[in-house]
Symmetry: C2
Subunit: 371 residues, 2 copies
DNA sequence: CTGAAAGCGCTTACAG
DNA sequence: CTGAAAGCGCTTACAG
């Protein structure tokens, strides 16, 4: 357990320069190890008695050094406890080793599984995940430009369709790869991974039709959202294909919130001629609608059938358990990360299609029943 | 709109070396601007006709340069579109400009508001937020060591009490600041920000007692969790203080999941002598318990009163709306980030107390009623 | 297969 | 108040 520490004059001088840092190099004779808080590639080279170039090569291109050298270097790395300094590597390689995810609202649990999928894929590929909430005032163009230009990110995943990187000033050719996930923006043709929103909405309508419902309403999402438009369009076209009426007073305004669902319930209650079934543009509004009816003494599915959209965690345990359209949230995160990483590594767009659509699935539970 | 581009031989040579990069410098005569994809501090210095040191100072210590110089430099920065390269700055300053948040399960929506609070505070302070899911196999000690040693992070927020940085090999004195958030680990005394778990649990019990309940049960969280222990202890001591019995068959095992709540409901149903009220260690289990009873044809609060813990989003819209203990999730995230940043900047621990406890609040809704 | 050397873009004592 | 120069830790053509 005894150890003798040698500090050379040169080392000492360095240490004093870096004031405030406990900087020293020790040589533990018994274990034969160099013990240093943050050994550098220089330390490894010294211990291995090779050049730093060789250590670097052994690390990045093991096949380019001899077997023997590789062994010696690996040994030295272990003895010193060396870890590559990513900042230095990144500066040299002009990369950042990170991708950034721009989320419209980090507080919204809908994004947690997507983030989880992104993170799992990125971390498997050795990339870090930076997150930023686009609602933060300082994010708007400042941070995005920062990320894009300040070598902060090798790529960008946008969960917010309202963000338009094509409008950011600066050379678009030098811009790192960008992939939209879930949402997208119709004003540009950046690659995107999305759910089949209109197909999912059609699934909901056909399910209700199959149960005998002929009067079907819809609660819309926020007006400025692509998902809102796609889901509404899916409902309308399915209705049309089935020869059913799309009555405008059966299309309730909403904004994806629980409260909007409750408001829709109030409107539904006020109707003369009520739809017998509702396809909501998301689960929160479906739950809000059900709660609203419950407070008014009515019950789902006895008085009206309700289908949600998203299959959020609570859908299954809600009372009644919610029939809904499941979207593979973790998978879309993985898929977006994979597409982005392909572009970062491959450079071209040939690694994956420009738009990838993930299928949605109907989950039948207890909030729908025969008319 | 016309622009003439000069490319010097030296520039050209550089460009060819950096193959694959569209590297050139142009001088737009009309606007009098240097247009370059990523202008460096050198370009700014050239345009401003000062040294790079002066540009750097004007940026980091504006008070150390003359007013006139400052003006010239700012002007040059604007004309070139310069943005600091964080990677280079970080290498030089031996910092990373980022904090990392280690989350036990990114897919769990409980963490989204906390993350949101952390991100808001960090981004206000100009720090990036890196996230990693500790369930990822490659995270365990590898990535943590990476973050700590590879200059990846200036500080660490641990949302997972199972992570024990004190066990990571390497010099603890060179370790960047670490703050636990929500959870903590009793085997070390790292600073932490936490909710008043036992106080919150006691609040729930006293509320039930106030409604006349004398037979009160508890659904526990997972066995190896500090929060589980704290909340159970809060229930037990409140029960004791009120002179009520803590019957072991009224303490149901759980794991914070909806399914565990449903299982507790089955156990409750099988009981000879049933508690008339249940304090669950979290909202998911409370909801699962209510669902379980609902399926068995019983109803809350008619047959049993239930209090949750956490006040997750759905609590308010659940049927019945859940009485619960609210914890300021966004606030705890802000608080943890503030504590961490204080330590990063201040160096010492004097910036904030070692343990900060945030009060919990009782939210009375419809899942509890008089016995 | 290996090493010497230049350089990524910035910051910061040091000297004036 | 300002500039010349060293250096953060790494990588990579280049030459051997």
């Amino acid at each position: 357990m005894q150890s003798i520490t040698f500090i050379s004059v040169a080392e000492k001088k360095k240490c004093q320069a870096n004031s405030g840092e406990s900087c020293f190099e020790g040589f533990d004779e018994q274990a034969g190890q160099v013990t240093k808080a943050f050994p550098t590639i220089q330390d490894v080279a010294r211990v291995a008695k090779v050049s730093t170039a060789t250590v670097s090569r052994a690390l990045s291109y093991p096949e380019r050094v001899s077997k023997e050298t590789r062994r010696v270097v690996i040994d030295a790395i272990e003895r010193t406890g060396y870890r590559v300094n990513q900042t230095a590597r990144n500066l040299r390689r002009k990369q950042s080793g990170a991708i950034v995810v721009l989320v419209p609202n980090l507080g919204n649990p809908f994004f947690s599984k997507i983030l989880s999928g992104i993170e799992a894929t990125a971390s498997r590929e050795g990339l870090n995940v930076l997150i930023a909430d686009t609602r933060q005032p300082q994010v708007s163009p400042r941070l995005i430009g920062e990320y894009l230009h300040a070598n902060r990110a090798d790529g960008l995943i946008l969960l917010d369709g309202a963000i338009r990187p094509d409008l950011i000033p600066g050379a678009p050719d030098r811009r790192p790869p960008i992939v939209y996930c879930c949402e997208w923006n119709e004003d540009n043709d950046l690659p995107s991974v999305r759910f089949d929103n209109s197909g999912g909405a059609a699934l909901a309508v056909r399910h209700l039709h199959g149960l005998g419902h002929r009067k079907i309403g819809h609660i819309l999402g926020p007006g400025d959202n692509v998902l809102t438009r796609e889901r509404e369009q899916g409902v309308r076209s399915a209705l049309g294909a089935l020869g059913l009426e799309a009555r405008s007073d059966w299309f309730f305004d909403g904004d994806f919130s629980l409260a909007a669902g409750a408001r829709a319930a109030a409107h539904w209650l006020a109707l003369e001629d009520r739809p017998t079934a509702i396809a909501a543009a998301n689960d929160e509004m479906a739950c809000g609608f059900i709660s609203g009816l419950h407070r008014a003494g009515l019950s789902v599915p006895d008085d009206v059938s309700v289908v949600g959209f998203d299959d959020i965690d609570i859908a299954e345990q809600f009372i009644p358990a919610l029939t809904t359209i499941r979207q593979p949230r973790s998978e879309i995160g993985e898929s977006a990360a994979t597409a982005l990483i392909g572009r970062i590594r491959g450079g071209g767009s040939e690694t994956s299609p420009e738009v990838k659509v993930l299928g949605a699935e109907l989950i039948v539970r207890s909030s729908t029943r025969a008319a």
